[in-house]
Symmetry: C2
């Protein structure tokens, strides 16, 4: 990914994904809505919007070359026909996290918490795309979008449990799960 | 800095800084203008604007803790009364740079190019603030703002020469220097 792609996640009355439930994990939740749209034109709809979150698909912030090579060999892209389920997880980390230096954040992220390694265990079943929001003045720092087949929902839940037990997650001060199913 | 601050650099007819010259270093330059304003309200003027660049003051991307400690001990802030000169340097790096992994970018940035170390040699004379623009869909990836006393212009030029000879700079595909003086 060399050109940053800005993506709007728009919750409202219409959209390619039907919202099954919105789960407040940590901190304030998001308002209910029927559907979720993923808009990459930079021109999201302005009417009948329940909420809207923006993020940029950008360069890797922590991954080393060896990790990127392994990820590229194992992961599959978004939009697979079997991926009838998806989850959007907006996360905000604390001021304490952002005050850390790069070497400190990397050590917590991977050497201590095994964030990349845990995600790797669920490839290629759980496809993901990370969107960076913090520099955009958004209420969350990251929006992660996961896509998988219905039978991969249990492994997905297991992955979330493992991540939420890590040292990295002690810096998460707001987290919401938006569980969706493909409409058609 | 825990809360990202979005800053607009606005070139036009008015502003606290008078533009002395705009130097195209690599790639396309920017149009001429009389003055430069630094707007932190998020509401830059819309009339009589020659050009406008936006960036976010955000967390450190490469610095290790030991480097942040040393920088904090040596550097001074913006707005010193003696800082009558300033330079805005917008930079865009190549797709090849952004395709590198974090460990590769760090190695080129500091272990090879000594970017932090070179900047350190000119503290506290040359004050600086880095603004990240890449995720905002801007034409440049970074906007660096330097402030110094008129007698520090020669050391500033020496610092730029050293940085531009580094391996890191081989990834710079667009760079412009906007040299300004404080109006009052």
């Amino acid at each position: 990914m060399t050109v940053p792609l800005t993506v709007d996640f728009v919750a409202g009355r219409q959209g390619a994904w039907s919202i099954d439930r919105i789960v407040p994990v940590t901190g304030q939740s998001l308002p209910p809505a029927a559907c979720l749209s993923i808009v990459t034109t930079g021109q999201p709809p302005v009417e009948a919007v329940a909420w809207q979150l923006k993020g940029t698909v950008s360069h890797a912030r922590y991954s080393h070359r060896s990790e990127l090579v392994e990820l590229a060999a194992r992961q599959e892209g978004l939009g697979r026909p079997a991926s009838r389920r998806a989850v959007l997880i907006p996360i905000r980390k604390s001021a304490a996290w952002w005050a850390l230096a790069q070497d400190e954040r990397r050590a917590i992220f991977e050497e201590q918490s095994r964030h990349i390694r845990i995600g790797m265990d669920y490839l290629p079943g759980i496809a993901r795309r990370l969107h960076h929001s913090r520099d955009l003045g958004e209420p969350f720092d990251f929006l992660t979008w996961f896509e998988f087949a219905p039978e991969d929902e249990a492994p997905f839940d297991a992955m979330l449990s493992r991540l939420r037990e890590t040292a990295e997650w002690s810096f998460v001060e707001r987290e919401v799960e938006i569980r969706v199913s493909r409409v058609q």
